[in-house]
């Protein structure tokens, strides 16, 4: 049975319609990527799924006791609020020290515990958000443009980290991204969104679909192939990127 099942979702504010007739269901362990141009409702869909926004129409069924690990696109911490990485990881539930260290290590930022959140670099911040999300042992990890503000090696390293986390926890991953070439090949399923679902399927099916090519042009097809090619060569050299970040 699926973890989350959204049926026929309509969402909008005022006279504006953002999402129309969106169906999405997520099975345990699968990686689903939502792609789409700016303003296509990708983040909105994610926020509807976590319950932050109420759809005008449609139903969302969550598996009972579903644990969601959410990594927002951006998290602004008010400068008046002092908080260390360690304290941040204790939200919403307190965790023991070993678990916190372990999550940071899994997210690739071991040893940051006593740093202030405000003093972290963009990449470190996103990884701490990831660490916090995996501490809740999520059934599904939801990432909203999690690599925004990272350079290309940085975001490639970040996606590898997510892949490692998924293999470790066995959780499903639902992510939103505009970096087609990086994310698509790692996905089991790609959903192409532009207010409504234009097309969906395996990365190969979607990148060949006319609706997708209409939105993104055909150039990304080549990029996808390039990434796949890269990927086949194994991971030996990958760690340089992470160290350099």
């Amino acid at each position: 049975m699926s973890l989350i099942d959204a049926r026929n979702i309509d969402f909008g504010h005022g006279g504006q319609t953002v999402l129309q007739g969106v169906n999405l269901s997520l099975d345990p362990g699968e990686i689903v990527t939502i792609v789409g141009p700016n303003g296509s409702g990708k983040s909105t869909l994610l926020r509807v799924l976590i319950g932050a926004l109420q759809p005008r129409k449609g139903t969302i069924t969550r598996a009972t006791g579903l644990r969601i690990g959410y990594v927002p696109q951006k998290l602004h911490i008010d400068p008046t609020l002092p908080i260390t990485v360690r304290r941040f990881l204790n939200l919403p539930k307190a965790v023991n020290h070993a678990a916190a260290e372990n999550a940071l290590e899994k997210a690739g930022v071991a040893g940051l515990t006593e740093r202030q959140m405000a003093s972290l670099s963009g990449g470190q911040f996103q990884r701490v958000l990831l660490a916090r999300a995996i501490l809740g042992k999520p059934d599904v990890l939801m990432l909203d443009e999690a690599t925004q503000g990272l350079d290309q090696p940085g975001s490639a390293a970040f996606y590898r980290q997510i892949d490692a986390v998924r293999r470790d926890l066995g959780c499903a991953v639902l992510m939103v991204s505009h970096e087609l070439h990086v994310v698509m090949s790692a996905s089991d399923r790609v959903i192409c969104l532009n207010g409504h679902i234009c097309c969906e399927g395996t990365p190969e099916v979607v990148s060949a679909a006319p609706a997708y090519r209409e939105l993104f042009g055909s150039g990304t097809g080549g990029a996808l192939a390039l990434y796949r090619h890269d990927h086949d060569h194994g991971h030996d050299h990958d760690h340089h990127h992470e160290a350099a970040e």
């Binding site: 609020l81 908080i83 939200l91 202030q116």
Partner: protein, 264 residues
């Protein structure tokens, strides 16, 4: 010991400052200062209504502050900017309250006591209300601390964890009304927001976690209350404003210390 009016005043000041210092952290973190102002200014209208209907001042102030807080809570849920609306409500309630108080027949009341506080006249009953109310504020925040903090950092993180940030906002709104009702006797309607935000702001640069900031803020509030009372007795000035003056002085020292630390 409670027979001494200075002891009662000190206890009233410390009790209020502790509750306000804790709640004030959330007011600062969530940028609710104007929200606090509106609720506090509405308290004067509460005084007028209490005198009109012959109920206790705390009850009148509490109810009107609560009504105002709920009104603002409702408005802020609409997703629009409420800044102007807050200004209208805050000063509207204050002006209406000032007019209403003077129109009440047969009453010659000391308006200054409600605008600037009158801590030297607190009774044992007032003390019970202040410490009881303060204890409720601290207890609720303690109990809801994790949920409140998550919702304050990011409503979306709260939703994803199955917490309701609107509920957190509502609880803070109710507590704010409670603190206003408790604090009006001590610092008066005009200076309640100061007691909320100044100790918290002073604590900010010396804290590394939200909890340390909260504890430090409560301590600074209590210190301001005691030192302010002492200052008022020595200089023969009103206690409420003297408490705030001490708090501002602590803030200035803290800001100076932070600047010096940055330079070195």
């Amino acid at each position: 010991m409670l027979d001494d009016f200075l002891v009662r005043a000190a206890l009233a000041g410390v009790g209020t400052a502790i509750a306000a210092g804790l709640l004030g952290c959330f007011v600062v973190w969530r940028r609710m200062a104007y929200f606090g102002d509106a609720t506090a200014h509405a308290a004067v209208l509460g005084v007028a209504l209490a005198l009109l209907f012959g109920t206790s001042i705390t009850l009148g102030v509490g109810s009107v502050a609560l009504a105002m807080a709920l009104l603002i809570h409702g408005l802020s849920g609409q997703g629009t900017s409420v800044d102007t609306m807050l200004g209208v409500l805050a000063h509207g309630a204050l002006a209406l309250g000032l007019v209403a108080v003077t129109l009440i027949p047969g009453q010659r009341i000391d308006l200054d006591a409600y605008l600037f506080g009158d801590v030297l006249s607190v009774t044992r009953m007032d003390l019970a209300v202040i410490w009881g109310g303060g204890a409720i504020v601290v207890a609720i925040l303690w109990w809801q601390w994790q949920a409140m903090l998550t919702a304050t950092l990011s409503p979306d993180l709260a939703y994803a964890a199955d917490l309701n940030p609107r509920r957190a906002q509502l609880i803070l709104t109710l507590l704010l009304a409670g603190v206003v009702a408790v604090a009006i006797k001590v610092v008066g309607a005009l200076l309640i927001t100061a007691l909320l935000i100044i100790p918290a702001a002073s604590a900010r640069s010396y804290a590394t976690t939200p909890e340390r900031m909260a504890l430090l803020s409560m301590a600074i509030g209590a210190l301001s209350a005691i030192a302010g009372l002492r200052l008022a007795v020595i200089l023969d000035v009103p206690v409420g404003p003297a408490i705030i003056c001490v708090a501002v002085a602590i803030f200035a020292v803290s800001a100076l210390g932070r600047t010096l630390r940055k330079l070195t």
